[in-house]
Structure formats: structure tokens, C-alpha cells
């Protein structure tokens, strides 16, 4: 259970948003909407703990996140705007090093299975430099399949994906919600997800 009370964010001396409240329980999703520059990414970075909030508090399972940073991060998967992909490494190496950074050893067969499911069969050993934008995006999303964390925070996960990949991603997100996972994401498009969910609109 993740609850936010009165979150606010400053950019320079301008207040980007204030008094943002939301609550996401197990198996629920939250879509954050808003115009460009409304502060969607800033809000996600604050929730993930990458940036401090100007005001407000975030509670995870009833206790402030600030008091349990490490436990919170161990349960969190954050995929930001940046692809987190090294062009020189292969899809397989990218996936395994990302898992290692996240503190989880990922064996080769599990990584290969994830890449196959995400639609990169036969491209596992190519340097990601030669992949298209959408395929790079898929390499990044393959991390979702290897993750056992409860809270997923995804910044624009549907960008640069084709129709089939969007459907596949929805399926993966549904599975995560069905396992009792929590999901917070930003998107400009309407997304059909199972489970209970709500949307939050930033700015006016």
C-alpha cells in the first residue's frame, strides 16, 4: 500500500504541482496524466525517491518511506524516460547487468526466456546499437519480466511500441496486478488494464 499526502514539487522558484494525494493498494494501478511539463516525470521521480519532494509525505505499508528507504528500494522497479541501455552491449548483457545492479543475479536461461517473450528471439546476442528504437524499448521492458518487486513505476512505458508490443505490455502489467503488485505509470493514451485503477490529473 502506497499513500501520498500533499506532495509538492518546485522547479526553480516555480511550484510545479502541490497537494497531490493518492493511494495505491495491492493489485491496483494509478495512471498519471497531464499536459507536457505538468510534472508527471517529476512526480514519479519523487515517488521513486530520486528527487526530494518540496512538501508532503509518502507512506509505504503505513510507515514513511523516508524511514525505510532501503526496504522500499528493494521492492521497487523504476523505468524512466532514459532507456538504460548500453549500445555496445548485447540485449542479453544489458538485461543481466541491469538485474545485477538491481541486486538480483539473473541466470542466462531466465534472461533468454524473458527476451524471447518480449519478442526479441534471435536478437539476444546482437549489440543493441543495431536494434531499432522500439526494439531497444523492448529490451528495457524485458526487465519487467525478470522482476519480482511489488511496486512498478513506469514513465511512458508505451512510447515507441507497436500495436503487438502494447498488447504484450498490457498483458505483462495485468499479470503483475494479478499477483498483487502495485503499478504507477504515466501515459498520454487511454490504457485498458485489469484490476482496480484510477487516474490522477496534474495541472489544470
Amino acid at each position: 500500500m502506497l499513500q501520498a499526502h500533499g506532495l509538492a514539487c518546485d522547479r526553480g522558484d516555480r511550484r510545479l504541482f502541490s497537494a497531490v494525494d493518492f493511494s495505491v493498494a495491492a493489485g491496483e494501478w494509478l495512471q498519471i496524466e497531464g499536459a507536457n511539463g505538468a510534472g508527471k516525470t517529476s512526480l514519479l521521480r519523487i515517488v521513486a525517491g530520486l528527487a526530494p519532494a518540496a512538501a508532503g509525505q509518502l507512506d509505504w505499508d503505513g510507515r514513511p518511506v523516508a524511514a525505510q528507504r532501503d526496504e522500499f528500494h528493494a521492492r521497487l522497479l523504476y523505468l524512466g524516460h532514459a532507456p538504460t541501455i548500453k549500445d555496445e552491449l548485447t540485449a542479453l548483457e544489458n538485461l543481466r547487468s541491469a538485474a545485477a545492479i538491481a541486486g538480483r543475479a539473473l541466470d542466462e536461461s531466465a534472461a533468454l526466456a524473458a527476451l524471447r517473450r518480449i519478442g526479441l528471439k534471435g536478437r539476444e546476442d546482437l549489440p543493441t546499437r543495431v536494434l531499432s528504437q522500439g526494439q531497444k524499448r523492448r529490451v528495457a521492458l524485458a526487465r519487467l519480466l525478470c522482476s519480482q518487486t511489488r511496486l512498478w513505476i513506469l514513465d511512458e512505458p508505451f512510447v515507441a511500441l507497436d500495436v503487438a508490443a502494447v498488447a504484450l505490455l498490457c498483458e505483462i502489467l495485468d499479470e503483475h496486478l494479478a499477483r498483487g503488485g502495485l503499478l504507477i505509470f504515466t501515459s498520454h493514451q487511454a490504457v485498458q488494464l485489469g484490476g482496480a485503477g484510477s487516474s490522477l490529473r496534474l495541472g489544470r
Binding site: A48, G49, L50, A51, P52, D70, H73, A74, L76, Y78, G80, H81, A82, P83, T84, I85, K86, E88, L89, E93, S97, A98, A100, I101, A102, G103, A105, P127
Partner: protein, 221 residues
């Protein structure tokens, strides 16, 4: 500890795929050192006197060449954010990056130095001391450099600022490193200088990853 080893392995793999970066610094070191005997001429007494200083200054500059990229690529592609969110302490991961930087930018200089030292007519014993001083000194260069690289991360014109920030901090390493070789050639023994260099290295290994981490957190916000 797993994540530490994974970071070292990943950075070494990246360096192996981007060989030109490693070789640029190495050739820079070779050429700068070789320019001095060519410019000064075959006066062995003079060359022997300036050798420690020349080799050490060239090593400082060569080690600095690759500092720009120490965190920049990870910052640009979002890997640094993932490191900050890792359950493994960020300082440990930063330590892994520093180790990998030394293995690709420092260790080759140590191995190449005796060969280049021959151009200055250094004795075998002096070459040994030179290597030992570089072996203790170059990790210190990577450690101090990491702080500078973290502080200038994401700044425009960060490259020049980085040199201005880091080079003055390299001075103790330069004094004790070059001093060790000079003291040995003067028959005074290099032990004192090398111990001080070792002490600096111990101090740097303890504090530099934390300082770099603090600077990275500021850059991430």
C-alpha cells in the same frame, strides 16, 4: 558484493568494446613522454634528472583524459538512476566503477612506464621504483578523479572545469610519486615517499567513493 563485481565486469566489457578510448589515453601517454628526449637531445644526465617528473606528469594527464566519461554515459542513459535505486549502497557501485577505471586507464600506464623510462636512461632499479610509485599512485588518481567527475557531471564545459578541479588535487601524488624515484636515484631510499603515497591511497580509497557518491546524488536531483 555481487553488484560490485557485476559493475566492474560490465565496465571492463564496455571498455573492451570501445577500445579506442583506452588506446587514445595510452598513446597520449607514450607520445608526451617520448617528446621530451626528442626535444632535449641525448644528454643522459639531464634526461635522467627530469625522467621521474616527466613520466608522472604525463601519467596524470593521461589518467585525466578518460575521467570525463567515467559517469557521463551512465548519467545520460539512466543507469546512474538505477544505481541510486539499487539495494546495494551507491558508494559500493561507485567503487566498482573506480576500480574498472583504474584497470583500464591506470594499470596500462603502470605496465608501459618502464618501457618509456628506458628512453631516459633510467637504471633498472629506478624503473622498478617508478613502477611501484605508479602502482600506488594511479589508483589514487582514479579515486580523486572520480570526485571531480561526479562534481562536474552534467555541467556545460565540464571537461575543462574537471581539469582545473582535479589537477591541483593530484599535486600530492605527483610530489611523492616523482619524489620516490628521485630519492632512490640520489641514494636516499624511496621507502619514505612510497609509504606516504600508500597512506594517501588508503585515505583516498576510504573517502573518495563516499565523496563521489554525495556529488552524484546532487547531480541526480
Amino acid at each position: 558484493m555481487n553488484a560490485f563485481a557485476a559493475i566492474v565486469r560490465r565496465d571492463l566489457l564496455l571498455a573492451a568494446r570501445r577500445k579506442s578510448e583506452v588506446f587514445t589515453a595510452l598513446f597520449f601517454f607514450m607520445i608526451v613522454v617520448s617528446l621530451f628526449p626528442l626535444g632535449i637531445g641525448p644528454e643522459t644526465a639531464l634526461l635522467r634528472r627530469i625522467a621521474p617528473g616527466v613520466l608522472w606528469v604525463a601519467a596524470l594527464l593521461a589518467a585525466m583524459l578518460s575521467l570525463n566519461r567515467l559517469f557521463a554515459a551512465d548519467h545520460a542513459d539512466g543507469t546512474l538512476e538505477q544505481m541510486a535505486l539499487s539495494p546495494t549502497p551507491l558508494a559500493l557501485l561507485v567503487g566498482g566503477k573506480i576500480v574498472a577505471h583504474w584497470l583500464t586507464a591506470g594499470l596500462p600506464l603502470v605496465l608501459l612506464a618502464p618501457l618509456l623510462g628506458l628512453q631516459f636512461d633510467l637504471s633498472a632499479r629506478a624503473l622498478g621504483v617508478l613502477m611501484l610509485s605508479l602502482l600506488l599512485g594511479t589508483p589514487l588518481l582514479s579515486l580523486i578523479g572520480a570526485i571531480g567527475a561526479a562534481l562536474t557531471l552534467g555541467l556545460r564545459g565540464g571537461g575543462v572545469l574537471l581539469s582545473l578541479l582535479v589537477l591541483p588535487l593530484y599535486i600530492p601524488a605527483l610530489i611523492f610519486g616523482a619524489g620516490a624515484v628521485e630519492a632512490d636515484m640520489a641514494g636516499l631510499g624511496a621507502a619514505g615517499h612510497l609509504s606516504l603515497l600508500g597512506a594517501l591511497l588508503a585515505l583516498g580509497a576510504f573517502f573518495a567513493p563516499w565523496a563521489a557518491t554525495a556529488a552524484l546524488r546532487i547531480a541526480l536531483e
